[in-house]
Symmetry: C4
């Protein structure tokens, strides 16, 4: 695996250490912590929540029956217990789950004998609903995490450099494989992470430089209904202005590309990420066309099988700076 900060699939290749009061901060934001951990731990927490509450109320029911001397009068026909047919901790546990979970078979039930039993029945009912509400909340948030939507967003495997209307351009492609819902308000941005040494001698190992990236001839907003070509014109403001094909290959940098937008189906915001290393930039290539029109059905056809395909084209191998100077002579 090559040295990179953002992996091709958008995951971030970081290890964070020595965070002050980490556990405390994670607990204060319990909701995000629960949403971020794996499903199996969520389900374990839910199951434990129920089981512990059932057990807790079981103890209360057992204590109520014990203190009412119900266990000493199991065979007393004329005796009215607090709870009918509870005569051990096991049946107390069964009664607890039957009451809190509202199964209520009826083989065990509260009588009118004990106010404390009615009170605990009320409390257990409220607690039962509350645990369910929390569970609905966590499950819904976990289920509807919008970052999963970026599974169906793709960046091209390579970036390319070629001429477009006499300008050297660095380009890449993005697309969305879903077709029943779209990403709306989509915008794209790009930046370079590279080492920088300031005039004062400060060494900044991972310095971020923003680079302009536009959708065809438009701006950074992308109408993402079919594969979009994102264009960075290598002009004098560009960090690549002085780089030839050969020099770019030898440089150490990482281009982070980011697509942000809103999921049409849910109205939530998402971000899809990817990156390009110098070795993944194909100088003198052009992307294949993907869209064709089917006259018989009146539909536009997008062939994603060719999304990453490129073909070679004549492109000057010198830097943009040299090329533009040469052009102004000619």
């Amino acid at each position: 695996i090559k040295k990179r900060v953002v992996l091709k699939n958008g995951n971030v290749n970081l290890c964070k250490e020595h965070i002050d009061k980490r556990s405390k901060r994670y607990l204060q934001d319990l909701f995000t912590t629960m949403v971020d951990i794996q499903w199996r731990w969520n389900l374990l927490v839910f199951a434990m929540g129920f089981i512990l509450s059932w057990l807790g109320f079981s103890v209360l029911w057992w204590l109520i029956c014990f203190s009412h001397s119900d266990f000493n009068n199991l065979d007393n026909e004329s005796w009215t217990p607090c709870v009918k047919n509870v005569h051990s901790f096991t049946s107390a546990f069964l009664f607890s789950i039957e009451t809190q979970h509202t199964i209520g078979y009826g083989s065990r039930y509260t009588t009118e004998e004990c106010p404390e039993a009615i009170f605990v029945m009320c409390m257990q009912s409220v607690v039962g609903v509350m645990i369910q509400c929390f569970m609905v909340g966590f499950v819904f948030a976990k289920l509807s995490r919008p970052q999963k939507r970026s599974q169906t967003l793709m960046f091209s495997r390579n970036a390319i450099v070629c001429l477009r209307d006499t300008k050297l351009c660095l380009m890449f492609r993005i697309c969305d494989v879903r077709n029943r819902s779209h990403i709306i308000g989509a915008s794209v941005s790009a930046q370079i992470i590279s080492r920088k040494v300031t005039q004062e001698g400060e060494v900044i190992s991972y310095y971020h430089t923003h680079i302009d990236a536009n959708f065809d001839s438009s701006d950074a907003n992308v109408f993402l209904i079919w594969p979009a070509t994102i264009v960075h014109i290598i002009d004098e403001k560009s960090p690549f202005f002085n780089m030839s094909s050969e020099e770019m290959m030898r440089e150490k940098f990482e281009i982070i590309v980011i697509l942000e937008g809103t999921i049409e189906s849910t109205g939530q915001s998402i971000q899809a990420r990817s990156s390009y290393l110098p070795s993944e930039i194909l100088w003198g290539h052009r992307f294949e066309q993907l869209v064709s029109y089917r006259r018989e059905s009146g539909e536009y056809r997008v062939d994603y099988g060719r999304f990453n395909n490129t073909y070679e084209v004549d492109t000057p191998l010198c830097s943009a700076k040299d090329y533009y100077e040469y052009q102004s002579f000619v």
Copy 2:
């Protein structure tokens, strides 16, 4: 149906093919997949989820009773079974649904005899709530999809070209038929999809060109309480600058218009789309006024019956370029 990418109602006229690992990507983002499919498939998935879990636990209950020899002691009065009154797979199924769905008639119930029965009862209870939580999540997301709100947003059937303060302008209208809640933070954008051939000979079949579109004299932000007229001034930056009325009619392009905003009722983001082909642009027309003031009730009255109406006005048929040149002589 004319050849167009975005239909009048905003649907996108595309067929996406050969998507690598399509099923896997769709499954990884199960939530959006479930939200995107039709209601009948959602309901089928829910029903199957319940029925399969009831059946699965039925098998467990049957096995518990079978291994406890309950079925060999159905007539044994002194025998205590794991579950009372379960004596076939059918009654095991009934007990399963009565327990998981918490109906709990009580004709069948767990006794204190078997720990494994109590354990399965706990597990089935937790699973039952979990399936319900998932169902609430999917139903809520499905129900609250914000893209349905764009059913009550309309674009005018035609775009028009006429003069406004000596400038040739291309205009269209948008409106919101609801009046108890609004679209807030609304902004409008427009772009042209057309064929382009670069100087290097690259043929880009569907090239996107952004065009300026403003709300009256403002910017792209729209205060969408009544029909808004969106204005594109045909100046030297405009792709229509060199087109006469006749040339526009013969051109092959598609104007995509997009309205984005937030639904006031739910705080969710939406996008409404439409498009105009050259044949849908009326040169030398003007939109009718829709808003009048009712003195007796103190209300402003908006007559949507006239939303698409236009009337003819004297407008030069030459290109904006020719017209402005002519104006500078006169």
Copy 3:
């Protein structure tokens, strides 16, 4: 009530008529329709949803029992009915609600006799949960409507005009009375609605003109932790540039002011609106200061009782244009 489009409280004073396919559009977006209508209609729809489903399944249960000849064998001791103790439509209805709502007293219960009874029991269970899911969805959306949050956002009753660093400025105030949660990402905008006649003779009755509005010396973004003063500098780009105090009073226009942001508690977007008529603009006034510092508690104190208070200051009554010309002589 004066003639205005946006009322002081932000409600919009419109009546929308002759909307093509209005009912159909409202039904296609049922969710927003349900969220927009009044609570009493929501509750009625929910109650009817339950009652009709209970009734519908009652008919099914009755038919099952009838076709199984259960009603002819009510006194037959050896007869096993499909459902125990159902012997009329009333008890079928009771059984329906006991089953679907999962009360399940047990006085009535399904036997293992009839597969169709078990099938209907499964269906009714799934339908019951589904209706509950829909109800949770509608109630949550209705409950969490973000537009209610604007009840605690206030605009000043009047706008003012006075000098600030030699510039004539039009100002108003906004504030948020809550202090446990804030509006984040708040931005303010303003526009004028007025009559306009173009050079071509087109009469636009309600033309929108955007005007610059900034937070103190910043931009349109507002840090809304205490009352913010929003400033529109009357410069040559301003529609008020040529207006004297007297002329402004006679003009017919409406200034719409809009605050947009996100509710910190829920992460939802909201918009608060208000308006100013010429008669509500106080020329030659200044807002009172509201914030003071309490040395003993180390807190800043904001006195909202004085939010709308102003005091008079010497201010030129001529137009900004005349005033700036005069200033350049002196």
Copy 4:
């Protein structure tokens, strides 16, 4: 505690008084009020909601049985009561909770005798579900409040001033301690609150001045995967342009810094805040580097233990204005 508006942790140090119709406004926006109050009050409201409804329906059941003379026929074997086994208010209460909460033991159940009993049973069932829906809504909103996410966002304890490429810069750091989900669409802004006296003599005690703040060499958008350094170049537009190190220490102002973005896990917007007083600005310091690369695992390592660390560097102590003038001589 020093005099400041925004505390280091982002809480706002305000006391709001004399709010007109405060209670009414809070009640109209009940949802936000419920979300803002403490959990213990929420739980109390929920418990009371259930208990009061149980009690209310208890009274109804008691009245139904009383008016049907059921209490006078408790020992009448041939008598069919409206509700079986209800013979006091206590058992009416038990029946109410068993019915509404759907426990339904079955020791008490409705008969087919009384239409009014069936009607109340229907009403109580609908009310029970409705209370649960409200509870789910409030619990979910309360649980998913996005402002908790800012517990895991940190600002550096100090801001620093030093040279970067011959420019005096004021800098601070921000970071996110979570690594399984990120803040997307993050942007940073900064403003100064200070006392201002206008040329007209108006004293504005807390005047807001926006200052430019960028991420490294980019714009205000932050790619927040590891600690970001935010840079304010002290140029002629900066409020600090004329301040020397010594003068800054004596000034009275507060720099409010704000990070806004969207939580990747939930798609909700958040804002994290902090502030710097003059005494917290270290002139002539530089931040330590935190990121290193681990060759053996291919991971980047971020050492948060050093997040607040700085070291001294040679930096001119005069104002930026004097320094740049001096530079232009040399």
